[in-house]
């Protein structure tokens, strides 16, 4: 069971790397989802090691929050794509128009 702690930390950091490193918005959202799953795994491990059952419930709520986040994030990406025909972070640097 102790290897899963390292796995959770690794997933979180890999997601962090992905969000910084990736170019287009959908991949950034994918890596954010990876970070969320790392956190969820950590919650379950803590609920197992401390015996506090509320941590597993927190996993359900993190899933709900990640579902809402993905829903709204992808809607924004769609709206951005319809307006600017691109989802690459380099082309969306101008705030004004």
């Amino acid at each position: 069971m102790s290897i899963y702690y390292y796995l959770a930390a690794f997933l979180f950091c890999l997601g962090l790397l992905g969000t910084i490193f990736k170019k287009d918005l959908i991949s950034i959202l994918l890596c954010l989802e990876l970070m969320m799953s790392g956190v969820a795994l950590l919650f379950i491990l803590f609920s197992k090691s401390t015996g506090f059952l509320g941590a597993q419930l927190m996993v359900i709520f993190t899933m709900i929050i990640s579902a809402c986040e993905v829903a709204i994030g992808l809607s924004l990406i769609i709206a951005l794509y319809r307006k600017k025909q691109t989802i690459y972070t380099d082309d969306i640097k101008i705030i004004t128009e």
Partner: protein
């Protein structure tokens, strides 16, 4: 113990495939496989309900949403003319290594207390009785959050043309009042 290592290796492979793949659809597919192997890990850790919810919500709805959006936005036109800047790669790997080092250090220090399993009963009704006794308010607030997400998604994606029509209808009604 062997199963733990086996599952960890599979998850790590799919996570690396997710981050370091050239095409976005391949990374979406890798995300689906990571979420499925995580569901297996949850089951192996004993929380059965969470692995079922993980399969249904994360792997069954969110990952499908990603592939849906990828089909809507054709990414092929961006693929070739994007050069990867080396500095960004260096900075991101540096931050990742720092954060990973800190986390690994923290875990290493108290690995003994962390890896002991003193969860008394991991059954579902213990989990649900706790959900509906102490955590009843978040259970209710979750629907309000989802309602806000529904409204936001519809308003963002329905085109302005539709909203403009509603305004014109309102103006038409006014003279009659």
């Amino acid at each position: 113990m062997a199963i733990d290592i086996f599952l960890t290796i599979i998850t790590v492979i799919f996570a690396l495939m997710l981050v370091f793949s050239k095409r976005t659809v391949v990374s979406a597919f890798a995300l689906l496989m990571t979420l499925l192997t995580l569901a297996l890990i949850y089951f192996q850790l004993g929380s059965i309900f969470l692995s079922a919810v993980q399969v249904l919500i994360n792997a069954g709805a969110i990952a499908i949403l990603f592939v849906f959006v990828m089909m809507l936005i054709n990414l092929e036109q961006f693929q070739n003319n994007r050069e990867k800047s080396k500095i960004k790669l260096v900075i991101s790997t540096f931050t990742m290594l720092v954060v990973l080092g800190v986390l690994a250090l923290v875990i290493n220090n108290n690995i003994e207390t962390l890896s002991v399993n003193n969860l008394t009963d991991n059954s579902m009704n213990a989990l649900f009785s706790k959900l509906f006794s102490t955590y009843f308010l978040p259970f209710e607030m979750a629907t309000v959050l989802l309602l806000a997400a529904i409204v936001a998604c519809i308003v963002i994606t329905t085109h302005e043309k539709q909203l403009v029509e509603e305004e014109t209808e309102l103006h038409k009604m006014e003279p009659k009042l």
